[in-house]
Symmetry: D3
Subunit: 133 residues, 6 copies
Amino acid sequence: MSTTKRIANPESNPRVKAVFDDIRATRKTDFINNFWYALAFDPTLLETTWDEVKRLMGTPTNIDPLTKEMIYIAVSISNACGYCVHSHTAAARAKGMTDAQHAELLAIIALAAKTNNLVTGLQVPVDAAFDAT
Amino acid sequence: MSTTKRIANPESNPRVKAVFDDIRATRKTDFINNFWYALAFDPTLLETTWDEVKRLMGTPTNIDPLTKEMIYIAVSISNACGYCVHSHTAAARAKGMTDAQHAELLAIIALAAKTNNLVTGLQVPVDAAFDAT
Amino acid sequence: MSTTKRIANPESNPRVKAVFDDIRATRKTDFINNFWYALAFDPTLLETTWDEVKRLMGTPTNIDPLTKEMIYIAVSISNACGYCVHSHTAAARAKGMTDAQHAELLAIIALAAKTNNLVTGLQVPVDAAFDAT
Amino acid sequence: MSTTKRIANPESNPRVKAVFDDIRATRKTDFINNFWYALAFDPTLLETTWDEVKRLMGTPTNIDPLTKEMIYIAVSISNACGYCVHSHTAAARAKGMTDAQHAELLAIIALAAKTNNLVTGLQVPVDAAFDAT
Amino acid sequence: MSTTKRIANPESNPRVKAVFDDIRATRKTDFINNFWYALAFDPTLLETTWDEVKRLMGTPTNIDPLTKEMIYIAVSISNACGYCVHSHTAAARAKGMTDAQHAELLAIIALAAKTNNLVTGLQVPVDAAFDAT
Amino acid sequence: MSTTKRIANPESNPRVKAVFDDIRATRKTDFINNFWYALAFDPTLLETTWDEVKRLMGTPTNIDPLTKEMIYIAVSISNACGYCVHSHTAAARAKGMTDAQHAELLAIIALAAKTNNLVTGLQVPVDAAFDAT
């Protein structure tokens, strides 16, 4: 079940085909996951989303690839996006995340949620020492 | 403003003093931030929270210290905990986060929130390839 | 799967029947979606919920009907309510939302989530110019 | 700072005065907190909000008054509503919440957030035994 | 579908068996729900999670058992954790929650979410009277 | 207080100046709000954010400008971003939002949050009629 129709042959649209080809080339795999098929109903939304994902997640930057996936998992859990948790956990595994790291990642995310709730419940004032300005 | 009274001399309670001493020793600083003062109204809550924070964040584990702070920042932003964003950004800086990494961290968190919303709006079905079971 | 039992013949209860009849009359359709069946386990909860939905969403007001559905979709995505995303996307389509508007709606929601996260990560102070008081 | 203008003399509007009088009578105090002043810019919004708050929170029902405030605190923390955390913590105290109960309430909310995150991170399938239908 | 492999015979690990035995003894039932099976991939995560759940939810404390489950449901709904809503609604029912209380619980959670959104939309300043410090 | 240093003279950087000039030209005002100053610590983050905001919010598209601001407010409230609520409420007012529309917007957002919570609490299964695939 989805909120948009699945397009029968999305790559008959050259803009969609160009993005899908770039996904395959960047990721070095023929597999294209459902997210990109779902975005294909609007080529502009597909292109702009892929451009940003490729620039930050598919290119070497100042943060290492596995850390980036872990950050993505943390946000996806917080936003209760089941699909995103699945896809980025698979991506993190593909980038070398061990079971021990996975367990620790989940433990840290859960601890952060826990202390976030304690702080908000206590309404703790920000320490002057934390001010960067 | 807080939802609990600030205790005048929290370290007169030996359980509070023991936790505060351990925070100072673990972090190698005399500075104790407001979160721990706020928790001091209930020594059990203070002890159990510190135990968990120390075990996961104050001890070498399978994920490097800076990555752990970045994960904490990601969750704290998602949960809109201003205090937590401040304290863990300061901690990440103390552990070496550069401005370029900070900007990239924020960009990845923002991108993750963006694609989480797209996926939820599209109600994308999970690919069979992501199933770990 | 649900957290409440599905009532065998909910309209045998006259209060439930009155609400269901009003839903059919207001929406000009015989279709009653699962949300109302689920609420039927408690007639008071059913009545008060329908009264508010009818007053704001089923009656001409100061905001046009399609805009109201778009706002509803935005909130439902933010709260990760899959059912609500499905039902209000269907409602928006029935009120004339085009594919281009759907794509743009999702893009704006995703952008808002993105900048919300940047602002919270940066802890930007509110400009005096924004104060309405 | 607020997003609406503070009305100079809100009770010059008889609809606002009627609500404020009912708040005072129901709560047996002259104190009216800022939330109701802020809602006074739109008498309909003020009336419908107060009607619902009074019916559920200001009237004896099937759940005891302190428990209701604790539930309200839990939701308000989850939604990161600082004002709401403050107002309902004060209300819970006025209804007898002790420091020990406050600490335990925060501990349970924090634990729930923690296990929510673990479950979402693990994508645990719902046990058949939990199905009520 | 899950993000971790289901372990074939988790109780062959003595640490897992010890936790599972304690769950059975504490809850006086042979039923162990999927959450604990999912956590069994990392015995430390399993042990620390169960220790905290047992201490707060499986032991008599300052808040009665049914209220604790209701608080857990409130947080789980706010965090959109479907599994958690199912498991804690079942637990609340097992501890005596009636249909009328269930309906009222949902009504209060929904009202709290509603007023949280109104307060955040209005950006209401905190009343000085709510300050506990 | 912010998590980044406020740059003394941000427009001495030509990339920052180009973005700021474009903001002024697009919005036809000299006022640049704090969000853009905060982003100026990283010109790439500033440029990519402004590009997307300009394309979707500063250019005529398939959704009218006031509706777009209302959607932005809805998301910002859901994400508890106080700054964002302030800035986009000011923007909506500048684009013609009346007090009556503001009150109704808040009422709809609050109702959506309310029914989102009811649906999640009831775990309502999606109607087949809502499936777009």
